[in-house]
Symmetry: C2
Subunit: 791 residues, 2 copies
């Protein structure tokens, strides 16, 4: 980073930022309103106006102001910087600014930086076949969708981790600042290592209003606001006003001051080689300017500039109110477009003199198109971590512990590169992944006490009891071209359902943009899952995240339910180096039976759905029934049921099927992983009863298979919202997915069996009664269940 | 409220709170460990120990301490108070405390307050057939499930709104405090009216650790913590220590001081008649005591008390480590049980002298069993707000605006009672409910400016850009016996998916407890829905909340998709006075065609699914095809398709079906609203093609109908994750749910029609092409679509 320039804005610089700002404001208004006549070469008339006026003006001038000023400091300091637009409804701002800096036309050749391009730029905004109204994947330089609010700070910290030379300017809207995720997003600074990480510069933009209300942070007393931001660990600098020249000067000085301090903190830490004992009080800026600044002051006698009325489109109904059309024209002309664009519509050189060069431009920085920087993850041979499986179903291992060893070595292999991180809300060890601590501590910039374990200043495991931060950090990390994994209790991943939603949407749109390079997939490990909540109970039991994600674009979503430790390793191998996906892996952390050797597991994952011949009794003939399982606990119960069937109904031809890649159940028309009809029918038959034990809500299997030939024969068991703090086996009994119930299902569904196997059925029923009595007496499962193994 | 006692704890009071505390700690340890020998009448042996040791000790002593001290101030001041246990994993604490105060035995007669009862109390905890490990609906005095963390403050504010005499002591765990929802939960004080609302007293319990990590707020510098809490608008009082007597004295003084200040603020505001210009700096307590205080200091040579190792069960493996058993016994005896319980196991009178009387006990306060206080909501006759419908499908109204008028009058009718509120993240007016402002402003305790509209100190509309707060406030409000409605953009209700999850679980369990009285249903109005995101786009399009909730207990969930304004009124009438449900109503805010008179609408909602004979052409004969719609936009497209079919294929017998109560689609075995098979078949036939246009993801309809006879004939159209900022009709075209596509579906599915209607099919296809060209040229929908009405 170069030496800071003096903190007085020169007259030339003042004129330049002001011109850039005016030009961007002009272009933003043009995008909202104009179909034609972009340079106002003729007086505005109704035919130049879009039929539907869509967009958000209110936040736009503030965003433009910040962009113009960032240009100056980036160029002056040769800064490697990206910006995150929290108030991303202001799409016209970011689009305008990166059209001005040339990066828009670099990726959209049909929208050149001239009059013709400007006309296209205006017309396409919020127009069918054009670009969306928010900052979105389509917007160059963005890693942050501006639709749902609350994630700007967590995305910013995610981008800054392990990018020591990067400065992330995170613009936080005061509406957004009211959300929970943003409110805890500030605490990201407790995890930012000044040696190995870059910097986040929050710019809290208080324009005072939301859609229809004042904002909380703009209206609390100034003293309280200052305490709040200091309480968040920042040292705020205030820039306020509605007079452009004064605000330009103040903002420029504030930016220079903040960047100087950031550089000084980083220099000090890096020279000493490790983060200081006391976390730096990172600077931040509070920018207080009017909502819809420079827009219409009043419309129809009501104040607009500086109020919530400026939120969307301040002047509407132009057809019915010709005076609004005049007002629009004088508003646009107030920016003096003739000073800003030449008669070809090209931005004049005077306003471009701060624009950084090439990849330094905010619209072109490669960190904001992370796939450009992505390197393959060095994955060791998973055979190294494989469990030796002699006879299937006789030894016990904790699947996630095996994964932990693999992740430890990925962590080691990336020790220098620092492009892999593990995120979780305080559960890494609880989820049995603690081997990773041999390779990396947990990042922590607060006080360290002798009693602490595994905390370190430079750790790449991040644990904070905020699923929102974990998710946002990981997203920011991935979007800037790195790799990571989020391990969570299954039930509580629902906390970030909406964020996962938005990320899935981002990936879908990005994939359609040739200039966006593929990024690493977002990997979820959902463990401490619905069936094993021994210390907890009903509140911790919810497998519905899978259902939610399966509704998203099928090109984005994968779901894996490995039945044992080796399968989990094989799934990790299969998913960790994928791109542009969301991989959901649900796997247990409790000791569970090993079924497959590592080679069998690799094949199983490759196939997605396998017949387990060694467990089946239909060799050489048609099966009477298919028993299928998806998930570790379902596999256990199915295998135990098969074992009971062998003992009690040895004549029955049973086929055992295991599903590890859930999406294989969908028809190939509906999902790229979908098993073709012929293959599906060969596995499940078209006419035999299929008793299917599933990890989650049973209806999902019906929803996925309703177009399959044999669907009417499917009988699915799974979690049906019954639970409390109880024993593992009681959980499956309560939800009718236990071995005894599965055997009863077989007897009920296989034609003719109901009559001949009446005694066996009664025995199974008795077993369930016996179980009830036993656990109520002894508080644990019957030994025959607890210690069951495959024989 | 009585005058405050002096702030010095007398020796007698000190001894009493300490005894209560020790007794509760003893009972908590007993619950975690013991099957038998509750009074330690004989030396502890392995047969007294539970086989599975489950529970969370770490937070428990702190919770017990607070309960003991709250007893004292409640009794001394005759305070109407409830407590909310944010660190609700500490179930043993709350259960112990309300067994001691007698309220546990009041509702669970089989667990009396004696030795036999104590034995049951111990055994049942986290034991099959017993009580869950967390604070839960089963816990008397609780309105707050302690499983998922983050909602204690929003629940507390919800309970305090419109309960002027209530004090809500909200214990916030320092783990929980890291979550986003909790981080913005503090801002509830900006909406608390000191005249009409009660008080929230936050007690931030810094015990320093989560499962495996230190907590952020316990480790940031004291000065920063203080700034943070002051920044949140509080005046914190600090109580720290690990020496019981000193902590008792400090905590007692802190509580008295806080309650005096609260009383003074309220008195001042109420005497002046309105909230003061400046919001009070409400007091709060920061309690810093060791995690697992009074538990084992060390186990196996490692420090436990005061560390994360005390989180769950500090001593385990008692079978393998006999010394742990000894340690447990001396731990339990350290509380001197003989001083606490008589030889019958009854708590000694000395420790009960602070226990408040009857309903003043924390375990018995009726506010924590809100159904005891609930009154029916005064609903006006909806005919007053009805839209006059002459010919169906020819006039336009905004459905939510009609609802707004109804809600206004509910607001008026509850002006004195103050037991109805409207919650929303800044969207009440955007969602066209602004008529309610005629009856109540929006609650706001910050600065008021001349430009503001509808803000008032005592408003019962609450708007904050935090869905988490809106949801938590509403839950707290309902759980304490009042009524309310949450209106949200459909896509962003996903932000609170996990909270809705927990509330559904709470309702399911509560319904099974005879002593929990039914509470008012949680009503969602999801508007600005997936199909009409004109100003926004893809990020704002997600109808999956319905899918999520349909997985919950069917006795709890209802989903309504009213096709027009009168239907929305009828749905509101049907749902607003229900109990113990979650009602999800998705309805548009844009002008849309009126289909039903108010009487027809009432009948339609009553039936849930109706054949619209007046639109059908199968009178007196079997239909060739059924066209069904669920949702307003689907209804529009289906009706337009029917109109096209009448014009182009007049011989075709078309039956038009409308679904307003989605759960009617489920079989009656699966849902209480489920339509019996015969009725279902009579409506949909068993053998005719059913072209079904659905508001959300089409697969949900398959999942709900897979057991119906005619299911294989169902062809469902709906949102399939295609969208951007575009025109309303383009949205349905992109998702293949448009009228032209539906006509093509009919032609493709009715046997024989593919050949005879080939020209019509081509014409429909051409129309879609024409649409594409038109919107790209003009930016709005073709007039024949935009201005379409039923003829």
């Amino acid at each position: 980073m170069a030496t800071a320039p003096p903190h007085q804005l020169s007259e030339h610089d003042l004129a330049t930022v002001d011109r850039y700002w005016r030009a961007a404001n002009y272009l933003a208004v043009g995008q909202i309103y104009l179909m034609d006549n972009p340079l106002l070469a003729e007086p505005l008339s109704l035919e130049h106006i879009k039929p539907r006026l869509l967009g958000h003006w209110g936040t736009t001038p503030g965003l433009n102001l910040i962009y113009a000023h960032l240009n100056r400091v980036i160029a002056a300091r040769d800064l490697d910087a990206i910006h995150i637009t929290g108030p991303g409804h202001g799409g016209p701002a970011t689009v305008a600014c990166c059209w001005l800096d040339g990066s828009y036309s670099d990726v959209y050749r049909d929208v050149p930086r001239d009059g013709e391009g400007m006309a296209r730029l205006f017309r396409q905004f919020s127009f069918p076949g054009g670009v969306p109204s928010h900052v979105a994947p389509e917007t160059p330089g963005s890693i942050h969708e501006g639709g749902e609010l609350g994630y700007s700070l967590s995305h910013a910290y995610g981008a800054a981790f392990d990018n020591p030379d990067l400065v992330v300017a995170a613009i936080v809207g005061d509406g957004e600042a009211e959300t929970g995720p943003l409110a805890t997003g500030w605490h990201g600074n407790k995890f930012l290592d000044p040696v190995h990480d870059g910097a986040v510069l929050p710019i809290l933009h208080l324009n005072g209003y939301k859609i229809a209300n004042p904002t909380v942070l703009a209206r609390i007393p100034q003293e309280e606001l200052d305490q709040l931001l200091r309480g968040y660990g920042h040292d705020p600098v205030y820039v306020s006003g509605d007079e452009p020249e004064a605000v330009h000067r103040e903002l420029a000085a504030a930016l220079d001051g903040c960047l100087d301090r950031i550089a000084a903190y980083q220099r000090a830490a890096r020279e000493s080689g490790s983060a200081p004992a006391e976390r730096p009080r990172w600077p931040m800026i509070v920018l207080r300017t009017p909502k819809g600044w420079t827009g219409p002051k009043e419309v129809d006698g009501l104040p607009v500039e500086g109020t919530w009325r400026a939120h969307q489109v301040p002047l509407s109904g132009l057809r019915e109110h010709p005076e609004h059309l005049e007002q629009l024209e004088s508003w646009m002309r107030s920016y003096r477009p003739e000073e800003l664009f030449d008669d070809q519509g090209r931005p004049r050189a005077e306003l471009l003199s701060h624009v950084p060069v090439g990849d330094r431009r905010l619209g072109s920085n490669p960190h904001a198109n992370g796939g450009r920087l992505l390197r393959s993850l060095p994955l060791p041979d998973i055979r190294r971590y494989a469990i030796e499986v002699g006879k299937p179903g006789t030894t016990l291992h904790e699947p996630t512990r095996a994964l932990g060893a693999l992740l430890r070595d990925v962590m080691r292999a990336t020790a220098e590169r620092r492009d892999f991180r593990l995120f979780g809300p305080d559960e890494t060890a609880s989820n049995r992944l603690q081997d990773v601590y041999e390779a990396s501590g947990k990042g922590w910039q607060e006080e360290l006490l002798p009693v602490d374990e595994h905390l370190s200043r430079d750790g790449r495991v991040l644990e904070m009891l905020s699923e929102h931060n974990c998710q946002g950090w990981l997203e920011g990390y991935l979007l800037t071209g790195r790799h990571g994994l989020f391990s969570s209790y299954e039930a509580f991943i629902h906390i970030v359902t909406s964020m996962a939603n938005q990320h899935a949407k981002w990936l879908k749109v990005s994939r359609e943009l040739p200039w966006r390079m593929p990024i690493a997939s977002l990997n979820y490990l959902l463990t401490s899952h619905v069936w094993r909540q021994d210390h907890n109970g009903f509140s911790h039991q919810d497998p519905g995240f899978i259902d939610h994600m399966v509704n998203k674009d099928p090109h984005t979503i994968r779901v894996y339910l490995p039945p044992d430790a080796n399968s989990l390793l094989a799934v990790a191998d299969h998913t960790l180096n994928t791109r542009d996906l969301i991989n959901i892996v649900a796997a247990g952390k409790q000791p569970s039976l090993d079924w497959l050797s590592i080679d069998e597991a690799v094949n199983h994952v490759h196939r997605g759905i396998s017949v387990w011949d060694w467990a089946s009794t239909d060799t050489g003939r048609e099966p009477d029934v298919v028993l299928a399982a998806a998930g570790d606990v379902p596999t256990l119960e199915v295998m135990a049921a098969v074992s009971l069937l062998r003992a009690h109904l040895p004549q029955l031809a049973v086929r055992v099927v295991n599903v590890v890649d859930l999406m294989r159940l969908l028809p190939p028309d509906d999902h790229p992983n979908g098993l073709p009809g012929r293959g599906f029918d060969a596995v499940f038959t078209t006419d035999k009863p299929v008793i299917f034990a599933y990890h989650g809500y049973p209806w999902l299997i019906h929803r996925m298979t309703y177009r399959r030939s044999g669907h009417d024969n499917f009988h699915v068991r799974g979690y049906k919202e019954e639970g409390t703090t109880t024993t593992p086996f009681d959980m499956v009994v309560r939800n009718d997915m236990d071995r005894y119930r599965l055997v009863m299902d077989v007897i009920d569904r296989v034609p003719g069996l109901a009559l001949t196997a009446i005694a066996v059925r009664q025995r199974m029923k008795d077993k369930r009664v016996e179980h009830h009595a036993y656990i109520r007496k002894y508080g644990e499962d019957m030994p025959e269940v607890k210690d069951w193994s495959w024989t």
